[in-house]
C-alpha cells in the first residue's frame, strides 16, 4: 500500500482504540477527569466538545500520521516503526497534559497523567505498527533464538 494511505490507516486504527480508551476512562472515573473537555481545550475549542472532538479525530487520522510518515527516519527508537510511533505519541502527550489538565490536582491529576499517557502510547504503537506492516515490501527474517545464549 502507498505510504500516505498506510499512515492514515495506522491513524484510523490508533485513534479508534484511543478514543475507546479515553471513553472508558471517562466513564470509569465517573466523568471526574472531564477528558473530552480536555480534548476540546487541546483542540482550541474550549466548551465546544463536539467540534473539539472532531478536530481531535481529524488530527489523529491525518495530521499526526502524515507527520509521522515524513519524520519517521528522524524519530529515535527505530528501526521498529511502532516504537517510533510511541516516541511521537509521548511528545504529543506532553502537550496534551500541559494544555488539557484544567484544574485537576492531587490523585485525579495522577490518574489523568498516567492513563492519558497509556492511551497515547497505544495510539502511537498502533499507528507505527499498522504503518510498518502495510508499507513493508521485503520482510526480513528475525534472528534465530539460541537457547544456549543467556546474555540477553
Amino acid at each position: 500500500m502507498n505510504r500516505p494511505l498506510s499512515a492514515v490507516a495506522g491513524g484510523v486504527t490508533g485513534i479508534a482504540v484511543m478514543t475507546l480508551l479515553l471513553l472508558f476512562l471517562e466513564v470509569e472515573t465517573r466523568s471526574n477527569l472531564a477528558i473530552f473537555e480536555a480534548v476540546a481545550r487541546f483542540a482550541g475549542m474550549p466548551g465546544n466538545v463536539t467540534l473539539g472532538f472532531l478536530l481531535f479525530l481529524l488530527a489523529g487520522v491525518f495530521a499526526w500520521p502524515l507527520a509521522f510518515m515524513a519524520l519517521e527516519q528522524y524519530i529515535p527508537g527505530g528501526p521498529d516503526p511502532a516504537t517510533r510511533g510511541m516516541v511521537l505519541a509521548v511528545a504529543l502527550w506532553v502537550v496534551f497534559v500541559l494544555t488539557g489538565r484544567g484544574d485537576l490536582s492531587g490523585g485525579l491529576l495522577a490518574i489523568y497523567v498516567i492513563f492519558t499517557l497509556l492511551a497515547h502510547l497505544c495510539y502511537g504503537f498502533l499507528l507505527g505498527a499498522v504503518y510498518g506492516r502495510l508499507t513493508s515490501e521485503s520482510p526480513v527474517e528475525a534472528d534465530r533464538y539460541d537457547p544456549t545464549d543467556v546474555s540477553q
Binding site: 470509569e28 483542540a43 502537550v95 500541559l98 490523585g107 505498527a129
Partner: protein
C-alpha cells in the same frame, strides 16, 4: 503568569501541529522532497507465514472450534479483563492514598471495589486458566481436540456478553457519552449506574438497592456460571474419554490432574451460585422472600453464596498450583518430588473445599457447635496445602535450579502463598476471626494468594509457553525484571494491609482515620510497582510476538538433558517440522 498557564491558553492542537509541520518541512528538505518507495524499516511481518486450512482474519476467530484458537481467545479475553480490573485497583489505591474522601465520591469507590472483585474472579482468573486448559489439555493427554468442540466455542462466546452485562452500566454510559458528544442526549443510557453492593452481593442490601444495573450484574454472573460449567464438563469428559493409549491415570500430568479436580469442584459449586442468583433476582423483581427477613433471611444468602464462594477460592487456586507443580521441576532439573501426594492433596482440597464455607460467617452468630466444626475443617485444609508447599521445596532441594523468568514467578508464588496461607490459618481460628473479620487483614491475606500465587502462576505460564504459543522468544531480561518487580510489589502492597488490619481498620470504606495514612500510602506505592511490572510484561510479550527471535529448536528450555521434554514440547517439535516444510 507562569509557563503552564500560558500553555493552557493556547490550544495544544495548534502547538503540536505547528511543531510537527515545521519538523516535517525540515525533514522533507533534508530528503530533497522525495518520497521513498521502499520501506526503510525493512518490514515487520510475522515471519511465520505457513499454510493452513483455517479461514483467515477476523472470520477465523469468530467461527473457530479448534481448541487451540479457543484457548488463545480465552487468554486474550482474560488479559483484557485483568487490565480493566487493574484499572479499578489503581483507582481504589488512588482514593486510599489520602484519609479523606477526596478523589472519588463514596458511591464511585463502592462501585470500584465491587467491579474489581467481580472482574478479577469471574472474568480474569477463571478464563485465564480455562484458556490454558483448552490449549494444553488435549495436547497433554494426546487428544485431537476437546470432546465437544462446539460447546467449547459456545462456552467461550458466552463470556463477553456476561462480562458486558456485569459491567453493563459502563457500556451504556459509553454509548450515551458518544451520542452526547455529537449532541444527542438519551437519558435512558445513563440510568444504569455501576453496582455498589460488593462482590459477595450480601442480602438485604443487594435486594434493597434500586439500581437496575444490579439485575444485569446478576444475569451476567449467571451467564458466566453457565459458561464455566460447560467448559468444565468439556475438560472432565476430555480427560476421561479422549486420553491417548500411552496416557494412563498413573502418568497423567499434574496440570491435567489439577484442572480435572477444579472442574469437578465447578460442577458442584457453580449450580448453587446459579440457583442462588436466580432466587436473588426473584427477590428483587417478583416479591419473593428467599433472602428477606420474613422469609429465609439474609443468612440464607450467605450460606448459599459461600457454599459456592469458598470452593470458588480453590477453583481459582488449584490450576495455579498445577502450573507451579508443572513448571517448577523443569527449572530445578529434577522430577516433581512426591507426585502422587501432590495429586492426593489436590483431590483432598477438592473434597474439603465444600466443608469450610461457614468460616466466612463466624461473626454472624451461628450456633457455636456448627462454628467449631467449620473451624476444624478450615484448619484441616491447611494440611494438603502444606503438603504441596513442602513437595515444591523438596523438588528444589539439591536440584540444579535455573533462574529463568518462569522459575522466578514459581518460587515467588510459593513465597507469597506461604504468607497468604499462614495468615489464612489464623483467620480460620474463631477467636482471631472475630477480631480480624472484615478488616484489611482479610484483604491482605487473600491478595497474597490471588495477586501472589495465582497471578504469578499465570505469568509463569505465559512466559514458559510463550515460545510454544508464538514461535518466538520473549526478552528474558525484561522478563526477569518483571518477576522481581512483581515479588517486591506484592509484599510492599499487601504487607501493609495485614498491619492495617491488625490496627482494626474495616475494609470497604473510602475514608479512614489519619493514623493509617502512612501504611496506606506504602500499599499504594506497592500497587504502582506491580502496575509497572504488568506494563513491562505487556510490552515485552506484544513486542516479542512481533519481533522476538524465532524459535527453530523446540527444546527452548533445555528440558531434554533432565529428561523432562514433555508431551506439549514434543508436539511443538512436530509443529515446527511441519512449519518449516510449508514455510512460504
Amino acid at each position: 503568569m507562569d509557563v503552564i498557564s500560558v500553555l493552557t491558553e493556547i490550544p495544544g492542537l495548534l502547538v503540536a501541529t505547528w511543531v510537527l509541520l515545521g519538523l516535517a518541512i525540515y525533514a522533507g528538505y533534508r530528503q530533497n522532497w522525495q518520497l521513498r518507495s521502499v520501506a526503510a524499516d525493512g518490514g515487520y511481518l510475522s515471519g511465520l507465514g505457513f499454510e493452513s486450512e483455517k479461514p483467515t482474519g477476523l472470520f477465523r476467530w469468530l467461527t473457530t472450534v479448534d481448541h487451540k484458537d479457543i484457548g488463545v481467545l480465552y487468554v486474550v479475553f482474560a488479559t483484557g479483563a485483568a487490565l480493566w480490573g487493574a484499572t479499578d485497583a489503581m483507582m481504589i489505591r488512588t482514593e486510599l492514598f489520602t484519609a479523606g474522601t477526596d478523589v472519588w465520591s463514596a458511591e464511585t469507590y463502592n462501585a470500584l471495589f465491587t467491579t474489581h472483585g467481580l472482574t478479577m474472579l469471574f472474568f480474569f482468573v477463571t478464563p485465564a486458566f480455562t484458556g490454558l486448559a483448552n490449549y494444553f489439555i488435549p495436547i497433554l493427554v494426546g487428544a485431537d481436540d476437546m470432546s465437544f468442540p462446539r460447546i467449547n466455542a459456545i462456552a467461550f462466546w458466552l463470556l463477553p456478553p456476561a462480562f458486558f452485562l456485569v459491567r453493563g452500566g459502563l457500556i451504556t454510559e459509553v454509548m450515551g457519552k458518544m451520542l452526547a458528544s455529537v449532541g444527542v442526549h438519551w437519558e435512558l443510557l445513563f440510568s444504569l449506574r455501576p453496582p455498589t453492593i460488593g462482590w459477595t452481593l450480601y442480602a438485604p442490601r443487594s435486594i434493597i438497592v434500586t439500581n437496575p444495573q444490579v439485575d444485569l450484574v446478576l444475569l451476567g454472573l449467571h451467564l458466566s456460571g453457565l459458561a464455566t460449567i460447560m467448559a468444565s464438563i468439556n475438560i472432565i469428559v476430555t480427560i476421561f474419554t479422549e486420553r491417548d493409549e500411552g496416557v494412563t491415570w498413573a502418568n497423567l500430568d499434574i496440570f491435567s490432574w489439577t484442572l480435572l479436580t477444579t472442574s469437578g469442584i465447578v460442577l458442584f459449586a457453580f449450580p448453587v451460585l446459579g440457583s442462588a442468583l436466580l432466587m436473588l433476582i426473584a427477590d428483587r423483581n417478583f416479591g419473593t422472600t428467599f433472602f428477606a427477613v420474613d422469609g429465609g433471611g439474609p443468612i440464607l444468602w450467605q450460606h448459599l453464596f459461600w457454599f459456592f464462594g469458598h470452593p470458588e477460592v480453590y477453583i481459582l487456586v488449584l490450576p495455579a498450583f498445577g502450573l507451579v507443580s508443572l513448571i517448577l521441576p523443569k527449572f530445578a532439573g529434577r522430577k516433581l518430588f512426591g507426585f502422587k501426594f501432590i495429586v492426593y492433596s489436590t483431590l483432598a482440597i477438592g473434597v474439603l473445599s465444600f466443608g469450610v464455607w461457614a468460616h466466612h460467617m463466624f461473626s454472624t452468630g451461628m450456633d457455636p457447635r456448627l462454628r467449631a466444626s467449620f473451624m476444624a475443617v478450615s484448619l484441616a485444609i491447611a494440611i494438603p496445602s502444606a503438603v504441596k508447599t513442602f513437595n515444591w521445596m523438596a523438588t528444589l532441594w539439591g536440584g540444579n535450579v535455573r533462574w529463568a523468568t518462569p522459575q522466578i514467578f514459581c518460587v515467588g508464588g510459593i513465597m507469597t502463598f506461604i504468607v497468604g496461607g499462614v495468615t489464612g490459618v489464623f483467620l480460620a481460628s474463631i477467636p482471631v476471626d472475630l477480631v480480624l473479620h472484615d478488616t484489611y487483614y482479610v484483604v491482605g491475606h487473600f491478595h497474597f494468594i490471588v495477586m501472589g500465587v495465582i497471578t504469578f502462576a499465570a505469568f509463569a505460564a505465559s512466559y514458559y509457553w510463550f515460545p510454544l504459543l508464538t514461535g518466538r522468544m520473549f526478552n528474558r531480561r525484561l522478563g526477569r525484571i518483571h518477576g522481581y518487580l512483581s515479588i517486591v510489589g506484592v509484599f510492599v502492597a499487601f504487607m501493609p494491609m495485614i498491619l492495617i488490619g491488625y490496627g482494626g481498620l474495616p475494609r470497604r470504606s473510602a475514608s479512614y482515620p489519619g493514623v493509617f495514612e502512612a501504611l496506606q500510602q506504602v500499599s499504594t506505592f506497592g500497587a504502582v510497582i506491580i502496575g509497572i511490572g504488568a506494563l513491562i510484561w505487556l510490552t515485552n510479550l506484544v513486542q516479542s510476538y512481533r519481533l522476538g527471535p524465532i524459535v527453530t529448536d523446540a527444546d527452548v528450555w533445555n528440558l531434554r538433558e533432565s529428561g523432562q521434554f514433555s508431551r506439549e514440547w514434543q508436539w511443538f517439535e512436530t509443529q515446527l517440522e511441519e512449519r518449516t516444510k510449508f514455510r512460504r
